[in-house]
Symmetry: C2
Subunit: 591 residues, 2 copies
Amino acid sequence: MPSYSAPTRDYKFLLHEVLNLSQYESLPGFSEASPDVVDAILEEGAKIAENVLAPLNRIGDEQGCTRSDDGSVKTPDGFKDAYQQFAEGGWMGLSHDPEYGGQGLPHTLGLAVGEMTSAANMAFAMYPGLTGGATQALLAGGSEEQKNTYLPKMITGEWTGTMNLTEPHCGTDLGLLRTKAVPNGDGSYAITGQKIWISSGEHDLSGNIIHLVLARIEGAPDGVKGISLFVVPKYILDDDGNPGERNTLQCGGLEEKMGIHGNATCVMNYDGAKGWLVGEENKGLKVMFVMMNEARLGVGLQGLAVAEVAYQNSLAFAKDRLQGRALTGPKNPNGPADPIIVHPDVRRMLMDQKSFIEAARCFVSWTALQGDLEHKSDDAATRERAGDYMALLTPIVKAYLTDKGFLSVSNGLQVFGGSGYVEEWGMSQFLRDARITLIYEGTNGIQALDLVGRKLAMNGMRPISTFFAEIDALVAEGGPDAVKPYLEALAATKAQLKEGTDWLVENGLKNFDHAGAASHDYLQLFGLTCLTLMWTLMAKTAAPKAGEAFYDNKLATGRYFLDRWVPEGPMHLAKMKAGADSMMALDAEAM
Amino acid sequence: MPSYSAPTRDYKFLLHEVLNLSQYESLPGFSEASPDVVDAILEEGAKIAENVLAPLNRIGDEQGCTRSDDGSVKTPDGFKDAYQQFAEGGWMGLSHDPEYGGQGLPHTLGLAVGEMTSAANMAFAMYPGLTGGATQALLAGGSEEQKNTYLPKMITGEWTGTMNLTEPHCGTDLGLLRTKAVPNGDGSYAITGQKIWISSGEHDLSGNIIHLVLARIEGAPDGVKGISLFVVPKYILDDDGNPGERNTLQCGGLEEKMGIHGNATCVMNYDGAKGWLVGEENKGLKVMFVMMNEARLGVGLQGLAVAEVAYQNSLAFAKDRLQGRALTGPKNPNGPADPIIVHPDVRRMLMDQKSFIEAARCFVSWTALQGDLEHKSDDAATRERAGDYMALLTPIVKAYLTDKGFLSVSNGLQVFGGSGYVEEWGMSQFLRDARITLIYEGTNGIQALDLVGRKLAMNGMRPISTFFAEIDALVAEGGPDAVKPYLEALAATKAQLKEGTDWLVENGLKNFDHAGAASHDYLQLFGLTCLTLMWTLMAKTAAPKAGEAFYDNKLATGRYFLDRWVPEGPMHLAKMKAGADSMMALDAEAM
């Protein structure tokens, strides 16, 4: 049975020391996030993750969700009680708008707790997670009345929410969407169509489920310009705002998936269901994408979260399992064999995980902080810079942390040898759960296209120019000896990324296929540069405190990253510069 | 429902054109393998794989095996009939010794059919696969009487076989083995102990199951020097050699695994079971390793096989799924969208798979041919060279093809987007099945240690010296323009491998941890060099036939490999040269 211990100490280091949140104490939300409050929230978040959610993770995988003929869905044993505890603890509203009952704390802090809940039980954490997404969408696009109607109960967790985009013939390409909305004449619409892969689409956790559904109003233009967003509650509210009449929508089936069995992935059938327009007609995608960008950070976080819990368990196994002797002589001479952590190749797998995870955690937190500052800073230049970074880095957080997170989990499983392949040890579940993160909220290939095709060119390439200039300044500033190797690696990686960026600008516009062909490796190189930057920031923070074990270990872990991750940069650059020719050479029929 | 079409055309290219098997027609086994016979066997093998085994793959995953309270095990519906067909078709004995009823054909050909059966149904193919391993062990170590008793029925498939090494506290480190053997006084031994993870350990496919069991004879030395091998049949043979009395051994449970559900992975309890010594006392590991080396080739082949079937299905999906428009303008203007194969990043995932698979197939075949020549050549120098290569390359075939095979399957799954995560499409099963290949028959970390710690130094570094010299000669020979880029890439990759080898010799002996720390990346670099060599050999064969579609496509696929795989070489070299210091820096308790 796998165990989980929340990385509270690491978050204190990041939030207090590296990001120094208290410097923003004059900003809304940050003012309430005093160091004491942050610590208390991290510690309480750790408790619910460790004690309430983690123990349900295996049972969630084993039992999955079950659908009855009437379309109702039962979650695994224990989920309902845990959800109630979670909602009553106020965890759903941690970083939501106080106007609607939230605590208004920084998202940066909310994501820290989010890592803990996702690591403890990813399938469970998706119920509040999707609710958070739907809340964001209503905040971004809903009318005052809609906000007042739905948000307070979603923020307490009394109701949950979902996002309904995908249809059988349309996933990435939402322009093909067919779900119809016909005006009822009373301000509402009749929504008809089938949506698939709706996470948390139907379940027994909450008193109502607020579906946000993309649909095409009768007579709207074809393609993405005719898509509107609707709020479609499972139970239509009565005049007092309480769940009343059952809406004509139903879970038509549950997907049998590789992982996240504890989350109900539903086929949702809308049969003239009553819905209300959110925002303007035909402008639904815009609202959906506001929320999607935040959701993408959350998926990157899941990649990190599952990597963390897999790492913890592989580390414990490696210390416990006795097998063979160290190459340099017995380390456990009185035992029958040495613990396998003495073997360099086992260390390699552990250090690959650890040095990735700690930088990834810093990267998510750093990016989330940009999201907070974009909305909350009182300085226009700060808001602009933060907005630029949030836009630029979100696809990288999503894709790089899930690509590498999956491989990290696979390393963790490998440390277990044959036990990693046996379900009862739990590593299989982590690998199976983690695999979805490369796919949903836009596949990682779509993230790479978003980066190369949109984010790079944004505002006359302002975001990436800022990024390069700030790295150059950091490098120019220098630092103590312990930080110098980090600065050198950062300068080298940044130079490769600059070269790759120039290559893209030069070639990607001449032939769009070159841009597409380079996008994956460009994103990987970008991700590597970001994590090298994060290690540099962490090293700068840790170096003055050398001599204390925590900081010494931090610096040692970072040096492993410099040795064993940074060499991937030139490879990605070489691959991207190979261009599209050999990639596109074969006729589809010849493949 | 996934489909499978055996790569018969590719095997004809490899066996007839690249390897030119008919040049060995004077050798035993090869003389029967005329081009016509080879083609007929490939085509018949394809039929049974496509028509009999592939249709049972999903059901095997869904149903798994079931154990009754009496310890008996039922395989999934259809497996028993399929097994009978498979055995009656003579497929179990294809490359086994004709003296015991086999057809004596080259293993090279046997492995070609092996790819087909493993791709079609990996879990099924393990029943004959393990039987083949047990057959090899008896051939290598058994007495004449044992061979005559067991082999003919194992070669017809009337009986199956297993290998029993692992115990709960001992996997890699067999020196810790505890299963006991006590002489019965009649030439037999009473075997007592528990073995775990015994593939095909109990089932309903065959009339008897011949277990080969490692155990320690009472009073034998501790560690690996006191391990003997025993043949322990499920049913003790009566005087006529027919299954008689039930032996006191039982399947105590089935493991619930991530994949290969159709294969019964058993806890085997031996309770004074009657067994007979195979080979000499305390020399059991030697026999087991003869067979294990061949089994490791077979696992590398599984990595390739699952990658192939995953590729085929992802290719079909990419041609069929309409989503978005090509970056360079619509390719399917009359349809609602273009097939996703027009998108460069989808191509990247497909070409990564295809260019790996074709080289991997060549590599397994090339290495298997060395195995045949080692045993069958009439020339001592050829036997020596072949034996050297077989020893040197086996860990690379096993680890590189399974590491990259798994990632290849993951790419295939990714092409499917969300459908890849849903069980009914079958891609999840391929990923789950493939994951075991990195673990069993010696984890990939153990393969890397075997390479660095044993195979490299063998015979005064003769194998690798030969390898380098032959590559140098090939490069010096030159070739037509179409082949030149291959030769350049091969020369570059070989130079990196040489540099890595020199680094290992220089540093690995001074500090064994350096050798261990470098082993993974060294093996990866070696694997990359081997596949680059294979592409060079294929390009040399294909270039004179340019103009014919098959050969043009081969050359184009290889160029993608040069562009997108070869750049990994310098990265592996840089990582390995980082050494052990940062890897081993942290105390275990600080991780």
